[in-house]
Amino acid sequence: MDFSYSEVQQMLQDSVKKFVSKNYDFDTRSKIIESDSGYSEENWKLFAELGWLTVPFSEEDGGLGGSAVDLMVMMEEFGKANLVEPYLPSVVLCGCLISELATGEVKEQMLGKLVGGDLQLALAASETGSRFNSSKVATTAKSNGNSIVINGRKIAVLNGSNANELLVVARESGGEVDADGISVFLVNPDTPGVTVRSFTNIDGQKSSEIDFTDVTVAASARLGEQGKALMAIEKVIDKAIIAVSAEAVGVLETLLQKTVEYSKTRKQFGTVIGTFQALQHRMADMFIECQLARSIVVMAAMKLDGSAGQTEKTKAVSAAKSRVGKAIRKVSQEAVQIHGGIGVTNELDVGHYFKRATALEIMFGNTDYHIERFASL
């Protein structure tokens, strides 16, 4: 048994840590959020140079190997910095989906540009009525000779305003929740009929609602086999869940650390508040939650990399997301409470970690959803 990081993983962690301590303090992050794109292109170039954009891909796709544990190591550090660069939507979600579905030249060119830092992507999958179910797709794609006509509305399209290309999940056949009949199409956001409404999310990340009204693309825009994309989508989402769960571990550990530090300096009743046992025990509980969250993410990431069957992998992913969700509630709320009034202000970073934690709890299924999914498998 050995839970220590490999040399590569250690280097990856060190390189993110070094970048963050040099380039990503709270003020810098706030300025990045206020910029039009909501991320730093300079940082993105640097991520490419440092090889971070290759992490989720196999060696044959030009990646670092595609291990979930590698991704976990990096995302945890991103969480500690509360990083807003669109790594998850562009690289993890879209990159991995391309790697699963695309073939030949399309795959090679897109992944090449992506890992080189020259391509921004966004996944248009969620819909108003889909909640967390990937197979609930009301957006339609109808064949019309050699072209495809797409109609529907997508929500929560992370990085939608920056994307050079959109990966659009649409239904070619079957009923609204059928597993069969779902395809993914590459759609340029400048195509007539695409309306993008963009905004900033609670966690400072850019997102969009996108309407597709009679959007016509060539049949060659379909990635993979007609109507058979669901399995790939679910596989990619499972990987993304490892990514956001690991990020949450970073967020929570930072909240714990900041809370403990604050309790050692904030004085009330003639002493630092960290001497009050009522608060000490709660911080001890926060620490325990962080340890459990980290442990279950390690379990799930290792299982995803291992030889377990698909059901076992999916169960592990749901276990991680639901358990981390529970830890998010506890740790993030206590961090704010122990900070007191200053914890709910915009001027302190704690509130922003709290908001990121809240978003991470929702993304790809909240605690109740994953407990249910775990129980159903």
Binding site: S130, V344, T345, E347
Partner: protein
């Protein structure tokens, strides 16, 4: 034991219902239902409507223009207001400073300040907390030094809710540096338009500048604005803290929110073709909230009955503050869970007065996270829930 209202109380209840249905402006109700904040003019106007009816100050004695209602009548009124979503009186004047002026102010002060509070001509804010004095309020440092007929005030107050609207502020200030920190504190009323006062908005994590830091730089305050005796302010403030504890549990508002939670759950797809109201986990969560709300309602009624019987409200108010705020926060969480992706967009402008433009996310779903964020304050303010638990340990359990 009897929990029913008497025939007279039932008559009163229907009178209140009718009045609120007729007089609470429809456009305000729409805003409240859309989770849009009422602006200052609207809040004041609503107070003036209540004033015209003679209902502006349910908790005041009759001699000052209050209603002279029984505890049960006050409870009925607060409940009906909460169920319809009508805002309660802005508490700073009506519920916080007025009772202190009544109890400890002189006749001149009563005549000068109380009528304007009753008619909502003047907006008050609270100057208690300081950057370094939160839960340990008695450690406050803002100083008031006597200079002839004036006090010279220097220091900073924080967490002033709606200080940007305020004409006056009631402050706890230090008039003497004594061995015991509680003993050198005085209660001073200060005109917010005085030279030397400046205000810095504090934006909360929901994006709203709801509170302020207020700085006092050699502010000259007429000595006649001192309430009661110098150095007795802490005693006055403490009395206030046990005052006006009915209605703090937020049961009516909780009921209103649970009914909209259920309505939205029925309209929300669970992603598998059913509604979220048919989702077992969510349905059970709502049921648990309803059950807790009922327990709190009866805890409040029992407190009410004992206050009606002439007993002073004691640590019960701490219980109600704790359970009321913690339940409200669980309801906030349920709204976030229900909204899911729809509450990720950070679009606070949509819930501000006069918003025009395309709405992101359906209905009020985009406000779920904003409310969740904002309301984390509830377990922190008004004596944090940690302080309330300390009170219970000391006053009830004898620890």
């Amino acid at each position: 034991m009897k929990a029913e209202f008497t025939a007279e109380e039932l008559d009163f209840q229907s009178e209140v219902k009718t009045f609120l249905n007729d007089e609470f402006p429809a456009e305000y109700r729409e805003k409240v239902d859309a989770n849009v904040r009422l602006n200052k003019d609207e809040l004041v106007n609503w107070q003036k409507i209540l004033f015209k009816k003679g209902w502006a100050a349910p908790s005041w004695p009759k001699e000052y223009g209050g209603t002279g209602w029984s505890q049960v009548q006050k409870y009925i009124f607060a409940t009906e207001m909460g169920l319809i979503g009508a805002p309660e009186p802005i508490p700073f004047g009506m519920k916080m400073v007025a009772p202190i002026i009544m109890a400890y102010g002189n006749d001149e002060q009563k005549a000068r300040f109380l009528p304007d509070i009753l008619e909502s001509n003047v907006w008050w804010c609270q100057g208690y907390s300081e950057p370094n004095s939160g839960s340990d309020l008695a450690s406050l440092k803002t100083s008031a030094v006597r200079d002839g007929d004036h006090y010279i005030v220097n220091g900073a107050k924080t967490w002033n809710t709606y200080g940007q609207y305020a004409d006056w502020i009631f402050c706890l200030v230090r008039t003497e540096t004594t061995a015991k920190k509680q003993e050198g504190i005085s209660f001073l009323l200060i005109d917010m338009h005085s030279p030397g006062i400046s205000l810095k908005p504090i934006v909360l994590i929901d994006g709203h500048p709801e509170v302020n830091e207020i700085f006092f730089d050699d502010v000259r305050v007429p000595a006649e604005n001192l309430i009661g005796e110098e150095n007795k302010g802490w005693t006055y403030a403490k009395v206030l803290l046990t005052h006006e504890r009915t209605g703090i549990s937020g049961v009516p508002r909780g009921k209103k929110r649970l009914s909209s939670l259920k309505r939205i759950a029925r309209e929300t797809d669970d992603g598998f073709g059913s509604s979220m109201m048919e989702n077992d986990a969510f349905k059970n969560k709502i049921a648990a909230l309803e059950i807790d709300l009922e327990a709190i309602e009866y805890a409040e009624l029992r407190t009410l009955a004992s206050v009606s019987a002439g007993k002073a409200p004691g640590p019960e108010s701490s219980i109600l503050k704790i359970v009321g705020t913690e339940l409200a926060q669980r309801i906030d969480e349920a709204f976030v869970e229900l909204a899911a992706y729809h509450c990720l967009p950070f679009v606070p402008d949509q819930f501000e007065d006069g918003f025009q433009g395309d709405y992101i996310s359906p209905g009020t779903s985009a406000s779920a996270a904003l409310t969740y964020f904002n309301n984390r304050k509830a377990t922190i303010y008004g004596g944090s829930n940690e302080i309330q638990r300390n009170i219970i340990c000391k006053a009830v359990l004898g620890l």
